[in-house]
């Protein structure tokens, strides 16, 4: 949602459900040819953390240290969650652990957006849930309302905090995005600075953005290639093909395939039933019980 739309439709923004069988909350007002989306194959994901470190490198994430980490103040936009199989007797390890890369799901009807008192987090025409740092006042309502807990608050002014970026470590910082200071919320942006460049270059060349023009940092690093990222509205894109094959539809809160018995597809979205319409599809991890 743009500023003008936000201001003009403030009351509507608060009261109507953003998704009403449209591809995009603002679909009629701002038709877009791009909807960034992701697919993560949990069967390929090995839980190695390469994506997470790549995100630190790309997005100027501060290293908070042990004490602040213990307070839950780690700033990992991309984190790996680890789960165990469970039985009545406790955790089962016969089929290993389950890993889940978790980052902002760029919900189409994002719960965080409706509670921001200043409209600092809102939807962009290319389907991102944006976070405008200089507009953010740090109320943290968005984080409270995020079902995925993927929003991270700057409790400290990290650029001036000891041993976060001691010289010359600060020379590694990426100039394509700001270094956030105390009191603002931040989260995964699907590497906005990279999609921006891809769109810019395509526009200069007078063509639409093509699949492969842009990779997010996590996708680029992932040794197992578990992450697919691209334009969901481009039928040629790999991510759109994956979503289509798995019969996961962006604007549905309950997928048709889940209603049929013996569904043999493994695409799903996390916490879909809360109706945030997330833009990340996961593919179930597969295990064989042959041994």
């Amino acid at each position: 949602m743009s500023v003008s739309n936000l201001l003009e439709n403030w009351s509507k923004f608060r009261h109507t459900h953003p998704v009403e069988d449209k591809g995009h909350p603002d679909w009629e007002a701002y038709p877009s040819d791009i909807k960034w989306a992701m697919a993560i194959d949990l069967d390929a994901c090995t839980g190695c953390n390469a994506c997470s470190v790549a995100c630190y490198a790309e997005n100027n994430l501060p290293v908070v240290g042990k004490e602040k980490y213990s307070h839950g103040q780690a700033m990992h936009w991309m984190r790996i969650e680890r789960y165990w199989d469970e039985s009545e007797s406790g955790f089962e390890v016969d089929q290993g652990a389950r890993f889940l890369p978790m980052m902002c799901q760029q919900c189409e009807a994002a719960p965080c957006e409706t509670v921001c008192p200043v409209g600092a987090t809102n939807h962009t025409e290319d389907g991102l849930n944006s976070q405008i740092y200089n507009r953010c006042i740090g109320s943290r309502y968005c984080s409270a309302n995020c079902p995925y807990k993927v929003r991270y608050f700057n409790w400290y002014d990290y650029p001036t905090t000891k041993d976060v970026w001691p010289s010359p470590m600060n020379e590694q910082l990426n100039p394509d995005l700001s270094v956030r200071s105390k009191g603002v919320m931040e989260k995964c942006t699907f590497c906005k600075q990279r999609t921006y460049v891809a769109r810019n270059n395509a526009k200069t060349e007078g063509r639409p953005v093509q699949d492969g023009d842009v990779q997010t940092a996590c996708q680029e690093a992932c040794p197992a290639g578990a992450i697919t990222f691209g334009n969901l509205y481009d039928p040629e894109s790999k991510v759109a093909q994956k979503w289509q094959h798995q019969q996961v539809e962006l604007t549905k809160e309950k997928q048709d395939k889940d209603k049929t018995e013996g569904n043999r597809l493994r695409g799903y979205r996390i916490l879909e039933e809360l109706r945030p319409y997330p833009s990340v599809m996961y593919l179930e991890r597969v295990r064989e019980s042959a041994v």
Binding site: S178, V179, S181
Partner: protein, 201 residues
């Protein structure tokens, strides 16, 4: 052997935070006459001489001859000293002028000229020269003086540039909200991006 140079680069404003910048300093951003402050540069560069109209004694050089990155990069770029020297080494007539002498001093010392930033946007703003030049200069085919001048003022009449426009968000948005023709040969129009996220990083 001009290329074996040991140089330093000057890098500014790349890692900035956002947020509480207004607290103590609260700099005056505009002067009473609604222009930016007068800024003293290491060399008083005569834009009017280079870019000015022929009738005023200028050479009508295209802005992008020197600010060469404007059409293909976010930043317009300050020309490297080499570019100045490229022409000036064969312009004997002005070699003894104090400004040119100073220029050659920098060249011989192999030091870049520490130009002061005149159009300084906050660090959380992503302004893209390339998009504006592509849209208005290449697609709409408007004169470069007009395209560049919309934000930078009538540079061809200035010495060192002084900020002519407020460069505030409201000022940017006032133009972004207008409909502009898509190209010189089209009647279709479109406005500038309206997403906060496009310009705020």
């Amino acid at each position: 052997m001009q290329h074996i140079l040991r140089l330093f680069i000057l890098l500014v404003g790349l890692f900035a935070g956002v947020g509480s910048y207004a607290a103590d300093a609260a700099p005056k951003l505009t002067t009473p006459d609604d222009l930016g402050p007068q800024i003293e540069q290491p060399i008083e560069f005569p834009h009017f001489r280079h870019a000015g109209d022929a009738k005023d004694g200028g050479m009508q050089i295209n802005c992008m001859y020197c600010h060469t990155y404007a059409r293909r990069s976010m930043v317009a770029g300050i020309p490297p000293v080499q570019k100045c020297i490229g022409c000036h080494q064969s312009i004997e007539s002005v070699r003894d002028k104090p400004r040119i002498k100073k220029l050659f001093e920098y060249w011989e010392a192999k030091k870049p000229i520490p130009w002061k930033k005149v159009h300084d946007l906050p660090d959380f703003v992503r302004f893209n020269h390339e998009r504006h030049i592509q849209r208005f200069y290449f697609q709409q085919d408007r004169p470069y003086q007009e395209v560049c001048g919309y934000c930078h003022g009538d540079v061809k009449k200035m010495t060192v540039a002084r900020r002519q426009k407020p460069l505030t968000m409201g000022w940017c948005a006032s133009c972004h909200m207008k409909d502009h023709p898509i190209s010189a040969h089209s009647t279709k129009t479109g406005h500038g991006p309206n997403d906060c996220f496009t310009c705020h990083k």
